[in-house]
């Protein structure tokens, strides 16, 4: 980019035209003042100064640094958007520090106003730089190349040779060669006595530069569009269950600002079976090798059901939505009977994995109508290590569950919502005999005739993410355009070549000088190009080689 030589001084010096004399002050439209500038001019001056500061390269540099620096806490501290549980944990473990970090917006950096200010200013600076340069590029592309300098020898690359042709013909020959290489040419005015041709090429470079920067702006706008019109929802499904894509069915909903609940597509999905394969032997024993969710879905009620296998890198596309396999775990089935012997609870209860290597999982069973609650630890392949229940393999080869029972009022009849994965044991009594180990098929008869709990069997659950992002494809397109612009701006050189011929001292023929310069040296290689061009120009004139010069 060109330097913008911003004056270090304040706005007084920069209210340029007004300070420079009456004629130009009149051109401004303001009054020709005898002394100082009118107040409107002063404000305009300040604005102009501020604008020039904003669009200077130095400011862009500082803003880039701020952007990088500001992103760092977003990667080190837990963020509200991705992991609210960790944020809560941080608050509990750092009670004094956390509220201050929260005030600074450090738990949601990328949505924080100060972060937005940095990238908005950066984009303002970008646009403020790019738009004038677009004008300049268009203007420059329309103006012919500059006249050939008198003394081409001063250019970084130049070569001279003698030609048998008279100057006009020599220059014409050169012009043909250059024109053939798609250079834009300029010749002297018809009445000029000089013989030269100017050639320029490489405007694509600046165009690529501008494309890159504008495409970045496009990426920003696409992300914004996605945020406004898109949504993301989560659903946990146990094998055999199905669900309809409606607001109340979903576990988590994150809607864009302009989206409402009723915009959800009316598809339904059934999880037939989930298979997780693990490596059985060798050094990588226990590492997962494949996840496969066999689902059947209908895109609209009444449509033909279709099947699909959702895998981790293989989401399901329904209409314009995508359904991803995000996580999985175990859901042991329990049956609880109350004191009266009636079944109060029977359900496959999703347990949350505490250890993603061995899939030791935690969960709760709530049977409010039998006044019973249980906290459980499930292990898929159980061994006892010094009395502690551990899991040694993530597949459900030898499942077992250890339960701690509570009896009393679960507090579920109040209007306050509870998490289905947590049991509030205040006001409840622990049942003697806890913890009690069960394998599938076993029943724990609770003491005092309170009832019983049976560990029936084990199923698996998957968590699916259903997303809609209209800004996705535009963002990708803009990203690719940015990359293309980048490559063009790096590898296209703006260069100028001049050829000037003067009559040779010997009377016949001419001395032809070819000079060239390039604006930037990013990819290098202009030396070779110039050498080849010079050679082509020299070769295009028959008979020059036979001249022995002076």
């Amino acid at each position: 980019m060109t330097d913008v030589h911003t004056p270090k001084s304040g706005p007084e010096q920069v209210t340029g035209p007004a300070a420079q004399g009456e004629a130009t002050a009149r051109a401004d439209g303001s009054q020709p003042g005898a002394g100082g500038s009118p107040p409107g001019q002063a404000i305009a001056g300040w604005l102009r100064w501020g604008w020039r500061q904003l669009t200077s390269m130095r400011t862009a540099l500082i803003l880039l640094f701020l952007l990088a620096l500001g992103s760092i806490p977003g990667s080190l501290l837990p963020q509200q958007g991705t992991d609210p549980a960790s944020v809560q944990q941080y608050f509990t473990s750092h009670p004094a520090l956390a509220p201050w970090l929260n005030r600074l917006g450090l738990f949601n950096v990328f949505a924080a106003p100060w972060y937005a200010a940095v990238y908005l200013l950066l984009f303002a600076s970008l646009v403020g730089c790019v738009v004038p340069r677009t004008f300049r590029l268009v203007g420059a592309a329309r103006t012919p190349p500059p006249r050939a300098p008198r003394n081409l020898a001063r250019l970084p690359h130049s070569v001279s040779y003698t030609s048998a042709l008279p100057p006009a013909a020599a220059v014409e020959g050169a012009a043909t060669v250059l024109g053939g290489q798609r250079f834009r040419l300029r010749r002297p005015a018809a009445d000029s006595t000089e013989h030269w041709v100017s050639a320029e090429k490489g405007y694509l470079r600046e165009a690529g530069n501008l494309l890159f920067h504008l495409a970045l702006l496009g990426v920003l706008l696409s992300i914004a569009a996605g945020g406004l019109f898109g949504y993301k929802t989560d659903k946990l499904l146990v094998e055999g269950q199905s669900f309809a894509d409606t607001a109340s069915a979903l576990d988590e909903i994150h809607l864009g600002r302009l989206v409402s609940d009723s915009d959800f597509a009316p598809f339904t999905l059934t999880l037939n079976k989930f298979t997780a394969s693990y490596i059985e032997s060798g050094e990588s024993r226990g590492q997962p090798s494949n996840f496969d969710a066999d689902v059947t879905y209908t895109s609209t009620p009444g449509a033909t059901p279709k099947s699909y296998n959702i895998r981790i890198n293989d989401p399901l596309s329904v209409d314009s939505l995508k359904v991803y396999l995000i996580g999985h775990g175990y859901a042991p089935e329990f049956k609880v009977t109350g004191a009266n012997g009636q079944v109060a609870y029977q359900e496959e209860t999703p347990f949350i994995p505490a250890n993603t290597g061995t899939f030791l999982s935690d969960g709760v069973v709530k049977a409010p109508d039998a006044s019973l609650g249980f906290m459980g630890v499930f292990v898929p392949t159980a061994i006892s290590v010094g009395g502690t229940l551990e899991s040694i393999f993530p597949a459900a080869d030898a499942p077992a569950v250890s339960l701690i029972g509570y009896s009393g009022n679960l507090g579920m009849n109040s209007a306050v919502s509870q998490s289905v994965y947590q049991l509030d044991t205040t006001g409840m009594t622990e049942i003697t005999g806890s913890p009690h180990l069960l394998v599938p098929g076993q029943t724990w008869k609770l003491p005092g005739g309170k009832g019983s709990i049976t560990f029936v069997g084990v199923k698996q659950w998957v968590s699916l993410a259903i997303t809609y992002d209209p800004g996705q494809v535009p963002a990708l397109v803009c990203g690719i355009l940015a990359l293309a612009g980048l490559l063009i701006s790096f590898f296209v050189r703006r260069r100028r070549v001049f050829v000037r011929a003067v009559p040779a001292a010997s009377g016949t023929g001419s001395v032809v000088t070819v000079g060239g310069l390039t604006r930037s040296d990013a990819s290098g290689g202009f030396e070779e190009e110039f050498a080849e061009l010079a050679a082509d120009i020299a070769a295009a004139e028959p008979g020059n080689q036979s001249n022995t010069g002076a």
């Binding site: 980019m1 060109t2 330097d3 390269m57 130095r58 862009a60 540099l61 880039l64 952007l67 990088a68 992103s71 760092i72 977003g74 990667s75 080190l76 958007g81 991705t82 020898a153 970084p156 130049s158 070569v159 040779y161 992300i223 993301k232 060798g282 050094e283 090798s289 494949n290 996840f291 895998r311 981790i312 890198n313 293989d314 991803y324 997303t467 996705q472 990708l476 990203g479 940015a482 990359l483 980048l486 790096f490 001395v511 000088t513 040296d521 990013a522 990819s523 290098g524 030396e527 050498a531 010079a534 050679a535 082509d536 020299a538 070769a539 080689q545 036979s546 001249n547 010069g549 002076a550």
Partner: protein
């Protein structure tokens, strides 16, 4: 598919061999540094001859069989000054029309040995990487260890290209030394046995995204080494000018001039930056496939973004008055530091979705 243990073992063997050969190459480069024949005279003698060669080249490419341009005709009317660094220190920049092999031969016995060893080392390194791929039936950059072995291979090859293209033998000690260090670390601390990938990595995007990141990291690696050399060289030059150091310090006079280093660094970053950009875009596409969103400010994603922004700042700095010299290089090194942080610290220690490093930690 189970791991092919034969190839896995072969990969390990070839990598150790590469490490040893690289070490010997570093010694040979160092030997040239200390004992090699001075090449400065050869460089300055070449400068005026450049122009004659340019014209000669022109005539030669004009057509086979055309009569040669007489020496007189090639006499420049005005002194043409090709872009030889004005500081006049060692290291011709322009590719001389002498062939690569001849240039290596002319550089002296130490360089011949060093280049030969480096070539063998690179071959062994490439075989190691390929064997690893054959052992695990997939692209061999699925965990940190594989990633480092692959990127050091890229760095070594890229370095080889620069050295041969620009005849910058003096870079050898530094770049190859860094490669040896990195490989050594990988072998001792980060070694992971060959094994299959977790399902999340079982995608053809692995070949695209991680390959691009590997390439870019290798290129930035070389740029960083060159940047450090530039800073050292600049500091020495300023100290000489200020009278605080003796000129003619053999060690520092033999490396290419600061200007050359600056230009080479710039070209390396110019080469690596689009690759990094492409890698980030490919990563976003893959993230969308695997995780349901193309950008979620995952720690590794964030640091890749930070690295990108810093290298962008370097490119801007190079176009800004007052920021071109050492300052720009500080920025570039900051960018590499950010890259290393991403690779070695964030990916390993900070939990996120990118925790595939395979390092138990």
């Amino acid at each position: 598919m189970s791991v092919n243990l034969g190839f896995a073992q072969a990969s390990n063997d070839f990598l150790i061999a590469a490490l040893l050969i690289y070490s010997l190459a570093v010694l040979a480069f160092a030997g040239d540094y200390a004992f090699g024949r001075p090449r400065r005279k050869a460089a300055t003698a070449a400068a005026p001859a450049e122009v004659a060669q340019l014209a000669a080249v022109g005539a030669a490419t004009a057509g086979a069989g055309a009569p040669a341009v007489p020496a007189g005709a090639a006499e420049p009317v005005s002194p043409a000054v090709p872009a030889v660094p004005p500081t006049g220190s060692a290291g011709p920049v322009l590719p001389r029309r002498v062939g690569a092999f001849q240039a290596i031969w002319e550089a002296g016995p130490w360089i011949r040995v060093a280049v030969a060893l480096s070539t063998v080392g690179i071959l062994s390194h490439v075989v190691a990487v390929v064997c690893r791929g054959l052992a695990v039936h997939r692209a061999p950059w699925g965990n940190m260890y594989e990633f480092i072995t692959a990127l050091t291979c890229v760095a070594a090859i890229f370095f080889g290209y620069i050295v041969v293209r620009y005849r910058a033998w003096a870079l050898g000690v530094f770049v190859m030394g860094a490669v040896v260090l990195a490989l050594g670390l990988a072998e001792t601390l980060i070694y992971t046995a060959a094994g299959p990938l977790v399902p999340a990595l079982q995608s053809y995007w692995l070949s695209i995204h991680v390959t691009a990141m590997t390439l870019a990291t290798g290129i930035f690696f070389v740029a960083a080494v060159l940047g450090i050399m530039y800073l050292v060289s600049e500091r020495y030059r300023k100290r000489v000018v200020a009278g605080k150091a003796e000129p003619g310090n053999g060690l520092l006079e033999r490396i290419p001039s600061a200007q050359t280093l600056d230009k080479l660094t710039y070209r390396a970053v110019v080469f690596g930056f689009p690759v990094w950009t492409f890698g980030v875009i490919a990563g976003a596409i893959w993230a969308d496939q695997a995780w349901g969103r193309y950008w979620g400010w995952d720690p590794v994603e964030t640091w890749a973004f930070i690295t990108w922004v810093i290298y962008a700042a370097y490119l801007h700095a190079r176009a800004t008055a007052g920021w071109r010299g050492a300052r720009a290089h500080y920025i570039q090194l900051l960018g590499f530091a950010s890259l290393m942080t991403n690779m070695l610290i964030v990916q390993v220690f900070i939990t996120g979705m990118h925790s595939y490093a395979g390092v138990s930690g």
